[in-house]
């Protein structure tokens, strides 16, 4: 399992691995939005939590089809399906690898980009907290979507269509945490719900994703 994780990480970091793509997208979005919206601090600060969360979500979405598609093309997914480790574990590892190369770096650069967006000071710790708790859900849900569409030749658009509504609760609670943090309100409820979504999705979705892969490999 460790070998699989390391292999996925190595593939992602190599050129063309799509590691930088999500980050670059996030970066561009955080620079373009102030240019488009205008420099008034009040407006920017108010929309900053939402923009940062939407940016993180879309950045995740960009690299989803890589989770299984490349392995499916060169046949290594068939090998993984017959490997001694259960397919559910393979899905979990792949989601983890995806998180390590998108969710985690996004979380790390988010506070820097929040400066551009004039996020109020109180929001920073909660921005990091909400992203670290919420992005695993994005990766796991994305892995499920990727598993469903892995057999399709042009699954990219369909993948986005399937995954987008599944992302709604995560986005709402995530952005709500940051907004409340920025305004200094109580935020225990959305934070707990966000963590619940992440944990619940990580626990259950690998099973759904693995059964979808089995169907696709049949």
């Amino acid at each position: 399992m460790k070998a699989l994780l390391l292999r996925d990480l190595r593939l992602a970091f190599r050129s063309g691995g799509g590691f930088g793509l999500g980050l670059a997208f996030f970066f561009l979005l955080s620079i373009l939005v102030p240019l488009g919206v205008g420099p008034e601090g009040g407006t920017l600060g108010r929309i900053a939590p939402g923009i940062l969360w939407v940016g993180a979500l879309l950045a995740c979405l960009l690299s989803l089809d890589r989770i299984f598609a490349l392995d499916h093309e060169d046949g290594s997914l068939d090998l993984l399906a017959t490997a001694p480790i259960p397919l559910e574990a393979v899905v979990a590892i792949k989601a983890l690898a995806h998180w390590l190369v998108t969710g985690l770096p996004l979380t790390l650069i988010a506070p820097g980009l929040a400066v551009f967006l004039n996020l109020p000071v109180g929001g920073y710790p909660w921005l990091v907290a909400s992203l670290i708790l919420g992005t695993p859900a994005l990766s796991v849900i994305g892995a499920f979507g990727a598993a469903i569409t892995v057999g399709l030749r042009r699954g990219g658009l369909l993948l986005s269509l399937l995954v987008l509504p599944l992302y709604v609760p995560t986005l709402i609670f995530g952005a709500e945490v940051v907004r409340r943090g920025a305004e200094g309100m109580a935020l225990a409820t959305p934070l707990a719900l966000l963590a619940a979504i992440s944990l619940g999705a990580s626990a259950l979705l690998p099973f759904a994703a693995a059964s979808a892969i089995r169907v696709n490999l049949r």
Partner: protein, 242 residues
């Protein structure tokens, strides 16, 4: 005699062929009665004027939009557990009907919202939930359309339907949490003493029954079409084989 008899396509076709004219007749009867009664023989509301009559389309369509998804969830489960093809085809047949009801609910809601709330659209919890439901329907239908092998498509859409249902429910509560709405609360609960005044309530009930039957009619027809299409495909494959 068990309900699983109808999982046999032949039995299903026989029974539905017999039942369909009755269902269609009853649908027409109830819909015409309910809508004519609602549109022409009920008084205007003292505050909303004649716009209140949108209720006879809006509420039944919205109810059926959700119920269609529930029906798809049940038939998907039956497909996963017992692998009856009719069940999977019924789920496939119900999806576009459910999507249409969702869109009817959204459009009539916008038409109603404009004079009443002064806006076509508001990010109200109920409206937002319906928009998300529309996305789920689109995704589900697109997945059916994208996969060629019918059994693979049935399996994957069933999995999507199960996972989607959980997330649709989750979104409903997330959206409630996120915004307070303009939309009024439930006014048709069964456990309340009085809901809407009886003058509106009775024709509305007739309309709801009509929409349920309309849904049944369309799902039966579409399932029959799907079964025939499947038979045709099998016949063609056999012709080519010989």
């Amino acid at each position: 005699m068990s309900v699983w008899e109808y999982a046999n396509p032949k039995k299903f076709m026989q029974t539905s062929a017999w039942a369909l004219p009755w269902v269609v007749g009853l649908t027409v009867l109830l819909l015409v009665t309910g809508l004519v009664w609602g549109f022409f023989f009920t008084p205007d509301d003292y505050k909303q004027g004649s716009t209140v009559k949108i209720i006879y389309l809006h509420v039944p369509a919205a109810m059926m939009a959700i119920n269609a998804w529930v029906m798809m969830l049940v038939t998907s489960l039956i497909w996963i557990v017992r692998r009856h093809h009719v069940s999977a085809l019924a789920a496939k047949a119900a999806a576009p009907v459910g999507l249409t009801f969702t869109l009817i609910a959204l459009v009539t809601g916008a038409l109603w919202g404009q004079p009443m709330w002064g806006t076509w659209w508001a990010w109200d919890p109920r409206l937002t939930s319906f928009l998300i439901l529309t996305l789920f329907y689109f995704g589900y239908i697109a997945l059916w359309a994208a996969i060629e092998d019918p059994d693979t498509a049935a399996d994957l859409t069933s999995i999507l339907c199960l996972v989607g249902s959980v997330f649709a429910l989750l979104s409903r509560y997330a959206v409630n949490f996120w915004n307070q709405g303009l939309h009024q609360g439930a006014s048709l609960s069964l456990d309340k003493e009085e809901n809407v005044s009886d003058v509106f309530w009775v024709p509305l009930l007739v309309c709801i029954a009509g929409f349920v039957l309309l849904f049944l009619t369309m799902v039966l027809m579409r399932t029959r079409t799907e079964i025939r299409a499947r038979r045709l495909k099998a016949l063609l494959a056999r012709e080519r084989g010989t």
